[in-house]
Structure formats: C-alpha cells, structure tokens
C-alpha cells in the first residue's frame, strides 16, 4: 500500500511493509521504521517509531502536530495526485483574493488601470489592522469586484488582473 503525500508543499511517498513503514522524501532519501500507533483520545495518537516516541495531534483539516512541530499534510493515491497537477495549469488572469474576513476600506485602483508589481490594490481591515493588498505582478486591472465599505469573506475575489 503506497501513498503519495504533499507535506509542507513538498512531495513524498509513504509505504507500508509488514509492521514497518517506509518514507521516501527529498531526492532519493528514505527512512524506515517499525512502528505502532495507539489512540490517545479523539484526534490524538501515541506513536512509536522503533524506540522513539511521538505525540501526534490532529489540529485541523490537514494540519498535524508532531512533538511541537506542525506539518501540513495532504494524502493522495498516485492517480489523484496526477489529476491535481494537471488541474493546476496557470492562466493569464490572476485573481486577488481576500486573505481574511474583513471590511474593504479603500480601493486604490480603477478598471483598466495598469499596475506595477508591488503596487497597492485594495485596503482591507480586520481586527483593527489595515492590510494593503499588493499586486503580485505587473498587469492591467480587468475587474474590480468590491467597493469601499463592503464586508468580504476569506478567499473572496476582490480584483482580477490580466
């Protein structure tokens, strides 16, 4: 049984062999241990990998705490991973998304305006802090989907660049 995983944005592979597991990561590096896992409450596990002990806690969807470090992990079967890679082809348009729920304070650009990389596009306020959303690249504003005073949720499209 083999799984492809993406851990903190890097690919790795995990396979089970008898009572041990094998973890391949980086370029040709791998490690292998006998292991056991005991549940230790909801979403918690006491893991032994050979002699070493690990406290493992599922923090939230895809976030796993291991001995004080947090890893972001996605697990795929190999077919799923390939499909994902193909779907991620980049497009010519770039959507600027709200990074958090908040309120739009100012819109600093207009439709059809040419912008430089790093130029401020929109100011969103949350938790009393104002955050200026900057353009990730040079381009032209093809759509402004919000206005000052609007409440926005995380991931909402604010501006589209081309």
């Amino acid at each position: 049984m083999t799984y492809d995983v993406i851990i903190d944005g890097r690919p790795a592979r995990l396979s089970f062999e008898g009572t041990s597991f094998r973890y391949e990561h980086g370029e040709g590096q791998s490690l292998q241990h006998d292991f056991s896992i005991e549940p230790a409450g909801e979403g918690r596990f006491a893991v032994l990998a050979d002699a070493r002990s690990y406290e493992v806690v599922l923090l939230s969807s895809g976030e796993i705490w291991v001995n004080g470090r947090v890893f972001r992990v996605e697990v795929f079967d190999p077919r799923g991973l390939r499909a994902r890679e193909q779907g991620a082809e980049s497009q010519g348009r770039r959507k600027i998304l709200a990074p958090m729920p908040g309120r739009v304070i100012r819109v600093l650009v207009e439709l059809d305006q040419e912008v430089e990389a790093g130029q401020g596009l929109i100011v969103v306020e949350a938790m009393k802090m104002q955050n200026e959303m900057k353009s990730p690249r040079a381009g032209r504003v093809v759509e402004v989907k919000t206005a000052p005073g609007a409440a926005v949720s995380a991931g909402e499209v604010l501006v589209i660049l081309e």
């Binding site: 995990l14 990561h25 896992i37 493992v56 599922l58 969807s61 470090r69 938790m127």
Partner: protein, 496 residues
C-alpha cells in the same frame, strides 16, 4: 472593599480581572457583544450583561450601555482593563457621575496624560528627558514640512490620542510626508475618534523600556521597575521581559528611569497602576515617550518578577486603601518572559487569522503562567484585536526562562487558526536574542537573517504516517498491516 465589580472588557484581560475578583471574594459582572456571548470571560463571571452588536462602537465603547449594565447589576465599581474605554476620561467622569468607582487613575490624570503632546509638556516640566519633536499636533502639510526639516529625517508620525501603534508612520523623506499624514490621520480617526497626529524625531534602533508605577490615593507612589518591550511588529509589542537584559550591565539605569517615571507620575497627580514608556538609545540615554494610564497587557512579567499582584492592588487602591509597599520593599527576582499569542500569520505580513479554534491544548508545569481568553471550539471574532493568550514563564535566570519558554511553546497546540507560536520558538533560538541585544528594529532584522528551519524528516515521516492512516477512506484500511488497535483508530480519526 467592593462587593461586586463590572469588567468592561473582553478576551484574556477580562478573564484575568475576573480571576482577581474571585480571589478577592468579589462578585464579577462580565459584559459582552453579540460575538462574545459564549466567551470564556462570560462563562467564568458570576453575572453577565449584553451590550449590543459585535462592532466595538456599538458595544465595548458604549459608555451609556456599560454604566446602565453596572447599575442594573448593582456593581459598585468598573474595571476597564486595557484598550476600549480604559483611557477615556469621559468614561471615568461618567462612572463618577453615576456613583460608580472607576478602577484606575483619576479622570484628571487620564486627561493630562491622554494627549501625548500634553504628556510631553508635563514631562518636560517635571524635568524628565523627552524625544525631540512637536509639542502640539501638526495641522497642515507646510507646518509638518518645516517641523520635519528642523528635526531631520527620519521622523515618526504619531496619533495624539493613540496607542498600540495605530496611526503611527515612519517617514524617511519629504516626498512621503503628505501621504503618511493622510494615512496616519485616517487610521487614528478610525481607532480613537481623534485624527490629530504629531511629529517626533525617530531614535534609530532604540530599546523600548517601560516603567510600572503604582500609587494610592493618599500620595504614596512607587515604581515596580521596568519591562523590556523592544520586540514589536507594526509598533505592537509581541514579547516582553523583566528585567530588561540591559540592566544586567547597567544596573544604575533602573533607579534612574524609575525616578524619572515617578517625577512624571507625581506631576500628573497619578494614582492606581500606570506605565511610563521610554526609548533607550545605544548610549543608554532614555527619553520619555508616553504614559499608559491603565493596566498594561504585559503586566504579568512584572508580577512574576516582583511577586506583586497589580490587579489586586488596583482594586484595593480604588477602594481607598493605602498601598502598604514601600519603594525599598520592592525587589526583583529571576527573569520573566511573556509571549503574546496572536491569531495572525507571521509568514504573511502578520495577516489576522480569525476563525474557529479546532484544537487547543495549553502548556503547563513548573514556572508557567498562561493568561488565555480562548478555548477549544471558540470562534475568534474578526472584530477585535487578535490577542488570544499571553504565555508567561518565570525562571531564576534569563537563560532558564528562555529554555522554559521554548519548552512551553513546544507543548502548546493550537489548531484551526494561524498563530505566531512557531515563530516565537525561532526567535528564542536566535543568538542576538539570547545575548539580550534587543531593539525595536529586532524583529524586522530577524526576518532578514532568519534561516530556514532545519528539516526534521523523522517527525515529518510520522506526520505522513498518521495522515495516511487518518485521512484515507475506510475501504483502504484492510490493505494496511499492523495491530488492529491502530487500524481502528485510523478509521475513527476523521480529521475535522
């Protein structure tokens, strides 16, 4: 002493004050907005009063609603905490007019120190050193240009009514001055209802050190030493300690700064707990910046180092009791460090990260003090400051305190929202931090020199292992081998 006190705040500081009230045998009344109905403070208090919608302007900043709640619940006094109405002289007046004790300084002292420009004048009059700058707010751009030219760039724009870095801007040249004044005024107006800003010479890479004072209503005033607050992001403190590492080499600095702080506090006719903020330059010159006429966020480090409970003394002093601690009775033991746990992403310009806390397990054990306002399942609201909790440690040496803080941070598990937990661990490992070489530029410079954290493939492998077992579909489970116990747990452990 009071029989019942209303806590006009929210979050961890409301919890802190409710705890003090319970220890003193005083009944507590929490107040809450729509967003805080199920907050930890509300659950812990003896009574609770609804104020209004989530927006602070409609709830925690509504003087009328808070006074009414105090009357309805029969509270004899109000503790304002920090932020919100804590430095609002009109609120202190309104309390007095309603026959309710405001737990803090007299309204007159809040007024005298509330405007930073007035506070500067008062400090100069008291013979304390101040940073060169304007003594009144700048009204137009031409005047600002002239002042900035005289001081020399870089200069710092600050909100006259401000605090917490809001409405503050560094300006490096004349070209940026107009935009900076506009932005700072707008932010100040939004945060404090007063858009006046003033100019100061920027002291480069200073330490930010503050002095805690405590005085009763009978004229007895003492200082409780300093807190080193140099580690800041966006001019907001993130980590504080007592004593300041600078005191190890220059022990005469504490009594000198303490004496300056007392001079200013006396001139302000101050009583109750207050804090005087200073900048300390590389040559150990210190300059008075401003006074915070309230309990500070970072008060626990002083409490840990001196053994003096500031909130208990605030209550006693407000009730008219005498402060029975003489200056020579105050001593400092060991080292205390505090990390402010914020719901924010330090890897992404500290963008706030409100939302549901899906997992929370807090550190404990020797030397740990945790002042938290959250619990597992709590939804951190977007409307307020992103402070979740203050993790403080005490040890007999700074080295020991650093090691203890590393250990405590390692035990801390917070899921569902981004926090600065891991970032603190990196700072604690930094050589300059360990050497105590701190300045307000420290964090910015740390970001430039920080190395990518060493990988830990063993822990990573375990994360992948558990993820594979917990995330996969039940149909796959039979294909893996091992003890039935972990197979079952793997099936059950659906990630939330």
């Amino acid at each position: 002493m009071f029989g019942k006190v209303l806590v006009a705040n929210r979050g961890e500081i409301a919890v802190r004050i409710i705890r003090a009230l319970r220890e003193a045998g005083i009944a507590s009344v929490a107040v809450f907005s729509d967003a805080d109905r199920a907050s930890l403070a509300v659950q812990m208090a003896d009574e609770a009063a609804h104020l209004g919608p989530a927006a602070a302007l409609e709830s925690y900043l509504r003087i009328d609603k808070i006074i009414n709640a105090a009357r309805r619940h029969g509270a004899e006094a109000i503790h304002p905490g920090y932020g919100f109405l804590s430095e609002n002289a009109e609120f202190a007046d309104a309390c007095q007019a309603a026959g309710i004790v405001f737990i803090g300084p007299p309204a007159g002292a809040i007024r005298r120190m509330g405007s930073k420009t007035e506070a500067r004048k008062l400090a100069i009059g008291a013979g304390a050193p101040v940073v060169p700058g304007t003594e009144s707010s700048v009204s137009d751009l031409d005047e600002a240009r002239n002042v900035a030219d005289r001081l020399g760039y870089p200069v710092l724009l600050k909100a006259a009514a401000g605090g917490g870095g809001k409405g503050m801007r560094r300006v490096d040249g004349e070209a940026d001055l107009g935009a900076a004044i506009r932005d700072a005024s707008s932010e100040a107006g939004r945060a404090f209802g007063n858009d006046e800003v003033y100019l100061e010479k920027l002291v480069l890479e200073p330490r930010h050190i503050e002095i805690q004072v405590l005085g009763d209503q009978h004229g007895h005033l003492i200082h409780l030493g300093e807190r080193e607050c140099s580690l800041q992001r966006r001019h907001q403190k993130v980590m504080e300690e007592c004593p300041s590492p600078v005191m190890a080499e220059f022990s005469e600095l504490r009594p000198r700064m303490g004496e300056a702080a007392l001079k200013i506090a006396r001139a302000a006719e101050y009583s109750n707990a207050g804090t005087l903020e200073f900048l300390v330059d590389r040559d150990r010159n210190f300059y008075f910046l401003e006074m915070n006429t309230r309990l500070q966020v970072e008060h626990p480090v002083t409490e840990l180092a001196t053994g003096i409970d500031l909130v208990q003394w605030q209550l006693r002093i407000a009730a008219g009791e005498r402060l029975t601690i003489a200056q020579e009775d105050v001593s400092w033991s060991g080292c205390a460090i505090e990390c402010r746990m914020y719901a924010e992403d330090p890897e992404n310009q500290y963008v706030p990260s409100p939302g549901r806390i899906t997992r929370l397990q807090e550190p404990s054990g020797p030397g740990i003090r945790l002042d938290s306002g959250v619990y597992e399942g709590w939804v951190v609201p977007m409307e307020y400051d992103p402070l979740l909790a203050k993790l403080a440690v005490w040890a007999s040496s700074r080295e020991g305190a650093v090691a203890r803080m590393r250990r405590a941070l390692q035990e801390y598990k917070i899921g569902g929202i981004r926090t600065n937990r891991a970032f603190f661990s990196e700072v604690l490992d930094d050589e300059l931090f360990r050497a105590g070489q701190l300045s307000t530029a420290f964090l910015e410079q740390f970001f430039e020199r920080r190395k990518e954290r060493a990988a830990d493939p063993e822990a990573e492998a375990v994360a992948a292992l558990v993820a594979a077992l917990a995330l996969r579909k039940p149909a796959d489970v039979s294909e893996a081998r091992g003890s039935s116990e972990w197979l079952r747990s793997g099936r059950e452990a659906e990630l939330r």
